[in-house]
Symmetry: D2
Subunit: 355 residues, 4 copies
């Protein structure tokens, strides 16, 4: 749109689009307003429907007095692209711990999410939740449904684990993030969780993405362990195209030939996503490295590179953890990390969300 | 068991195991019989339960007159390992095209599976089915539910596609292999398919593996695009541990830095799987290379390395294919490949299943 | 050139090119003749000089009666590309074991190259050479200069090792292939070797490539362990552009995340190189897998995919080898492989070079 | 050694070691002194010679009153390991720009190294040197010998480029870092350079490592593009074992499947090297990303993770650069980066070397 366009002129363009069977998605910034335009998409997808504006309609659009120019989005993802939606998306997560009951992810303030890899018992969860809450975390992580490489490994406590998370939520005033693994569990997990997590193995589980897209829950989409940035944004597009705008991306390391670390964390994905997309991007240095002694430095590196949140595994007794003990911080180590994290966030002109 | 043990002595050992809460899985070869033993596994998995035989029970077992020795399986996968089950598994697939109505996968004879990547229309499917059947294929491939990297890509005809596959099955006397993408579709796809296919993106979709494990349908498990051999066999273990013994592994290329091919096909996985596991292993050179001009040579290489079947994409007009045209053979190219494939199979002392 | 062009017309075009400061490289096939054209390249390389034909000269060329058309080579490598040189290059290696004293690599006949990874002692080398010669190898491999990942590892016998190779050459009538690691050794190694080998770690050691390019020795250029096909052909271009046309490419596996094998052998590189280039391509399944039990199947797969030679490590007592024993065949295993290799070569209409 | 051991007791242990044909390498910290011990290594390396202390000698050592305990170094690299040498190595680089004429790399202060990828002309070099010097760089980078993937690419000005670097050194008071590509050039490059650079393609060019090891010049060893951390430290061991202790490691990205960046920068290598080794580690975000817009964020991430120096490509007019313009910062962008870099260094309790 032309600079300083009025609300009415935006409305006029939106009406014009609707009349021609197209949907408009306005993104209003301080200096300019951009309207993203999508064609109709059928039930199974209609190849080539995006951007397929009738040339006559395009010309009419271009000649409207409030329209500055019509550009085609060059990326295969549309709703997820910054071209389509130039202003940063800020996802709002309900929380009992902040005045107004909302934690923002993707704004100026950085969010600390911490907790055990897996909910193992009430005692383990409550001890960890209390400690990380005191140290500055505002979101509690903890898996109730856990993907396990082996069928004989621990697969989580299921709904019982979700109930323990809900209890911790009430007791310590934290938002809850927890994983959902299959479409038929989405409804149940939504009852307990403030943020859904889609794990690395499910980044291309399209039925799950569709189902999460039909809710309006904030959803953290972890990068597939060998996914390109483009595939990752296309997976986000699945959720967005079903109508759920609350997508948060999470870098958690990719698979390489290196054996000294569990994964190779791609820190460059953080600034790259910021350039390509308007969605928030967060960082999981626990999965990303698989080594407790690297979680601290990689948290600081993520912050310096621009992450919107950290997702860190903490366990009261990592050596006895049922899963991933080697990559969990002790409570003491987590406490020591916080002031360093604050210092880096200050250095780049940001700050952590606190109660 | 000791050499030349009788059926009764096998029975005696199985009874002994059952009495102690263990399950025995006999594998009878010409020269020796091996009984694999599993401990009880709880609903969410009980870590360490495998191989956890009570030492007293182990001693009693060892002192039975028919038992030669008790060995522990060293791999993290048990049911899938050759240590546990030394004899090759031969999966039997119902088919209308062979006397007796069965096609064996994993025996001496090699199976040709061919067809379009995706079922697009009745005409496209029937033309292809007829042509590949005439040229020597006995299993028809064709996707009705298709994973698409983009939500705007073609995602298949759904149940309508399954019905067309069933029609082709009747008309040309071929078994059907088709993909299933989510647990809630398993029952429906089983009604039409002779072989279920689990795609590369779903190799670690554990809920899907569990669900397929609860059927007894032959299931082709494609290797995840960045899965190690061990992770792949552990994914097979998910299906096996739910009671479905009819698992077939499929090498389809892994992701590397190379840009000239879509994937890098790991032909060494074929002989390696034969050493580590008793399960059949098949080869998909279409997905494995992404280039029509490499499908022929990689089919021959797969055969020379010991593949039990080939899974090849064929399209009557690849340039107009809705998906993956670049990697589909023309009908003519497929016809030319068959005599070369026969020659290689003969050179290694095997042959192709024919009508 | 137009079909059925005479020698004179080729000469005329070559003269025309020379007059305009360009060099012509004719490639004469049965049905057509192609003349590759290169511009002048300065001492440090002159960016953009290749293909930089003056448009006026290009027009004049196109209007010559014997010229059918002028095409630009689209690849970044020129001399190595099949566009530039459509006919297969056949490299001739001097050998005492065949009538005429020449072994051809890249023709219809396939060459077996075998021997120890490293020359350790006269006895070890002579025992192995005799055995592999009897079993059908015509080229003897053996490292005198060995790259070792650790400075404390065995780095070879140096010139003493070369002398032992020369002795084996005389005694058993085999050609010798051995590695050269640095430019200043090229002259010395050339005195003993029939084929120079450039190892995977040196694929982009440009000074070494230049130096080998200044000889006319046949040179096997191993693929870098994470080199793309394009980078590999550009490395070949270094040797070719210095005037040595006798380049042989060797696939030896690339580095991936897989831990069960030392490398992941990219068999698809064999047919792909055949399409992109006119140079011979050979296969090293010993380095390619790092596992003795996979060398046999991967040799057969390489043959089925079109390899021009096999390069196989054989050791009289692999468990005592100073280097890479785990991937060396025993003499007995090598003997058993040969008839299988013959059978596959026959199935694809080729045969092995024999005495 | 026992706590608070005297200089004499260290001397006594060193004498004892020498008498038994072993070399001792003391590393004195504030609280403890550790003496690394190496056995004799023959000309071509003697396998297993490291750590091969005679058991009797080991017992005698353990019973000396000044010795607290004898431990075996568990890593394949010895001189490069932190077990062997617990105190951080600080490499001293001569420089005209700091009082005392020394810049330390690996101490508390961080070093900014900047300049063009390649020396193209006097004007280009001098303009860049002046600008980066004013903005805070104390080391000038610039390639005179350049590895080029294509033989037709620009390969540098050679010795003429070195002379221009020397001129810039004098004029702007900066130390010089420049690449050496082959053993026979080491002596010449040493005449001009303050720091030698060994490029990613030459990390396993062992003859070059040996030759650099025979000098005492500070040497930056870039990580091979698909090298594991262990292979990288073993390459450092080559230089160290020839007697040159001034080795500096440089992370510059590894090769993965990602196409949006030239390499995937492994930031976790920075803290990991700090744990495994005593050598300084620096970071090259220009090569590491290949994208100008990511150089800033990845510089900050490297600093937060603990890098000892940054190596950044700057060009007065990147769009006209002969090499790697896409990853070069403009002078203006470099100036803007410096205060952000200062802020991060301050947040982690470090600071940049200034004049």
């Amino acid at each position: 749109m032309k600079a300083s366009c009025s609300d009415e002129s935006v409305e006029r363009v939106l009406n014009f689009l609707e009349k021609h069977g197209l949907s408009g998605h306005p993104s209003r910034g301080v200096e300019r307003t951009v309207i993203g335009v999508l064609g109709g998409v059928g039930p199974w997808g209609a190849p080539g429907s995006i951007g397929g504006i009738n040339p006559t309609v395009e010309e009419s659009l271009e000649s409207m007095p409030e329209v500055e120019s019509v550009l085609r989005v060059s990326k295969p993802y549309k709703l997820a692209s910054r071209e389509f939606h130039p202003i940063d998306t800020v996802v709002e997560v309900p929380t009992p711990c902040v005045d107004g009951g909302i934690v923002q992810i993707g704004g100026e303030a950085i969010v600390m999410m911490a907790g055990p890899c897996t909910v193992e018992s009430e005692k383990q969860l409550m001890t960890t939740a209390e400690a990380v809450r005191k140290a500055g975390a505002v979101v509690l992580r903890g898996g109730a449904f856990k993907p396990s490489t082996s069928p004989y490994g621990f697969r989580g406590l299921g709904e019982e684990g979700l109930k323990l998370l809900a209890k911790a939520r009430d007791e310590f005033g934290m938002s809850i993030i927890t994983e959902v693994m299959t479409p038929s569990d989405v409804e149940m997990v939504c009852e307990y969780a403030d943020i859904l997590q889609i794990g690395t193995r499910n980044m291309q589980n399209y039925m799950l993405l569709d189902e999460v897209g039909r809710t309006r829950k904030p959803a953290v989409l972890k990068r597939g362990m060998s996914a390109t940035i483009e595939e990752w944004l296309l997976a986000a597009e699945y959720i967005l195209s079903q109508g759920n705008p609350n997508v948060i991306l999470c870098e958690r390391g990719v698979r390489t030939f290196e054996k000294a670390t569990r994964n190779t964390m791609d820190i460059s994905a953080i600034p790259l996503i910021k350039r390509l997309s308007h969605l928030p991007i967060i960082s999981d240095p626990s999965q990303g490295t698989g080594r407790r002694d690297l979680v601290g430095p990689m948290s600081l590196a993520s912050l310096a590179a621009g992450t919107d949140a950290l997702l860190i595994e903490v366990h009261p007794n990592p050596d006895e953890a049922l899963k991933d003990g080697a990559q969990s911080l002790t409570i003491e180590q987590f406490r020591e990390l916080m002031p360093q994290a604050h210092a880096i966030s200050k250095a780049i002109g940001r700050y952590f969300v606190t109660r």
